[in-house]
């Protein structure tokens, strides 16, 4: 520290207005450093990037491919279902754990004291989760196109990537809400409490018993899965097992509305809590 160089400090008349350019830079800087730190945290990045693709190749391509003797419908279902599984993690855990940890460590308090743009923190976390979801979708798509023998067209792949990447938003919102309630230590537990039921009730891995199917509507994964299956023209596992074949799963508008509603409600709850208690 050098006091002799403080002549350069030049305490200026306070300018309290941010130009649009500087405000944009603040948002970009927050987003850039949020993504950088997430990518540099292997304990966070590797499980969410490697686990979905590993499980998809093992169970979705090799095992299901063998058991179905290369059935293209099964291959399509596997790709769509494991993709939904892949994008749930970064949203729920990325938001939940990071926000809870940063709240516990005082970082959010510091951001509230500093003149950080109001939405920059949440927006940067959102972009980070979307980035991870996009990376997950890119790896899943590469594996499916390379080994999946699913017959999914390029346009369908692009459609699924867009739908599932955006479809991570409700999971981000739920993760964010958990992050505003939980401590750093309890956040993974709470996130799992939501993550595991969502995953299983979504009907991603096995046909659900008829009695449990009545609860499917509680899982955002269920609606996202149905949107994806519609895009590739495949039935759900429930329908496949009962021999129902491709059919309407409720309108896509309803599915999109539910996912958007979950996103808005949980984001609003989280933002309200962050503003009140930090």
């Amino acid at each position: 520290m050098s006091a002799t160089t403080f002549a350069t400090y030049e305490s200026r008349a306070a300018n309290t207005e941010m130009s649009a350019t500087r405000l944009r830079r603040a948002y970009l800087a927050e987003t850039k450093y949020e993504c950088l730190r997430a990518l540099r945290a292997p304990a966070f990045a590797l499980p969410f990037l490697l686990l979905p693709i590993t499980l998809y190749v093992l169970f979705g391509i090799l095992l299901a491919g063998n058991m179905s003797h290369g059935d293209k419908t099964v291959a399509k279902i596997m790709f769509v279902n494991w993709s939904v599984f892949g994008i749930m993690g970064p949203g729920m855990f990325g938001f939940g754990m990071f926000v809870a940890t940063e709240r516990s460590q005082g970082l959010l308090t510091l951001k509230r004291a500093l003149p950080a743009p109001q939405a920059a923190y949440l927006l940067s976390k959102l972009v980070m989760a979307l980035l991870f979801s996009a990376i997950v979708m890119a790896t899943m798509t590469a594996a499916a196109a390379g080994f999946g023998r699913s017959g999914i067209s390029l346009a369908q792949y692009v459609g699924i990537i867009v739908v599932d990447t955006l479809g991570s938003l409700p999971f981000c919102a739920i993760g964010l809400f958990i992050g505003t309630l939980a401590t750093a230590k309890s956040a993974p537990g709470f996130a799992n409490l939501a993550y595991l039921p969502f995953m299983h009730l979504g009907g991603l891995f096995y046909p659900l018993p008829h009695s449990v199917q009545r609860l499917e509507f509680l899982s955002p994964a269920f609606y996202l899965d149905k949107l994806g299956l519609r895009l590739v023209g495949a039935p759900s596992l429930d329908q496949l097992s009962s021999g129902a074949g491709p059919s309407s799963y409720g309108g896509p508008l309803l599915q999109i509305a539910v996912l958007a509603g979950v996103t808005l409600v949980f984001t609003a709850l989280a933002v309200r809590r962050l503003a009140r208690v930090g």
Partner: protein, 297 residues
């Protein structure tokens, strides 16, 4: 724009559950001053700072920052903050942390300048998580001042710093005040408050129990310390009027008295071999301790 007070709490009360953290508390941060806010743990210091930063809302009374509500982000663009209990992202490099905070301000220093001024340039490319606790404080100081703020809130800024780094930070703080910056300092190091402050506010049980310059606070304690080498016995000196205590320590007598001048005259008259005289006024630490004890009793 000129303000009489850059930050102000007027008749503020704040309760957390059953605990009354602040009770009709008044505080003004004036332009171009270094104000030390002192108090024992739980006195209400953090609550007072939190109210000025807009982190809490007062139950009653008013909190103002640059004449406006602290929740107004435009007001907070004139402040810099250094908090004690904050953990920054360990994965980001030092220059990245500083650049991020700089991006929040309309007219900041460059990150390079902030690092030069705070001596953190050699740390620029290092991940924050790899720094020592003292280095982290230096980086947080760079983050606090990179926005070129008019008012700095510094919470225990020198915890973990070695002596050299602490003296450099003290020099930097004095220079910032000379440049027109006001600083609100909370610290448990009373010698730090004594060395730096233009004004000291002492809190206890949510109220200000003293508010003045360091000298004014020291004057609250009617006590001087005389140290000398003399052949007179401690028992004899203890009988002199005005002597509050006498101790013998490694060949020297330590005398505490309300009026040092009279005692020194008596020492000179009573002992021809009297030598090595040192006289000290009571320090801020003693004044602080006495004030807190008065409140406690």
């Amino acid at each position: 724009m000129n303000y009489e007070s850059l930050a102000e709490l007027s008749g503020v009360s704040k309760r957390f559950g059953k605990v009354l953290a602040l009770d009709r508390f008044e505080l003004q941060v004036r332009p171009n001053e270094l104000l030390a806010v002192l108090g024992p743990n739980g006195a209400g210091k953090s609550t007072a700072i939190g109210l000025m930063l807009g982190l809490h809302q007062p139950d009653s009374g008013n909190a103002r920052l640059f004449g406006d509500s602290p929740s107004n982000v435009a007001c907070r663009r004139q402040i810099g903050v250094m908090m004690q209990e904050v953990t920054l992202a360990p994965e980001l490099r030092v220059h990245e942390h500083i650049r991020l905070v700089a991006s929040y301000y309309p007219d900041p220093l460059s990150a390079d300048d902030a690092m030069t001024l705070t001596g953190t340039s050699p740390l620029a490319a290092r991940p924050y998580g790899k720094l020592s606790s003292g280095q982290k404080r230096q980086v947080q100081f760079a983050m606090a001042m990179v926005g070129r703020p008019k008012l700095l809130f510094l919470d225990e800024p020198t915890v973990g710093l070695d002596i050299h780094s602490r003296e450099l930070m003290w020099a930097a703080l004095r220079e910032l005040v000379r440049q027109g910056v006001s600083i609100v300092l909370t610290t448990h190091y009373l010698e730090e408050a004594e060395a730096l402050s233009d004004r000291v506010v002492v809190l206890a049980k949510g109220r200000a129990i003293a508010n003045g310059t360091v000298n004014e606070l020291r004057a609250l304690v009617d006590r001087k310390h005389i140290s000398c080498v003399t052949s007179l016995s401690p028992e004899l000196i203890a009988t002199w009027p005005g002597v509050q205590a006498v101790n013998h320590d490694r060949g020297r007598l330590q005398i505490t008295a309300s009026d040092a001048d009279i005692i020194v005259k008596q020492l000179v008259q009573a002992d021809a071999n009297f030598k090595e005289l040192e006289v000290h006024r009571a320090g801020l630490a003693e004044a602080f301790t006495e004030l807190i004890q008065e409140v406690a009793s």
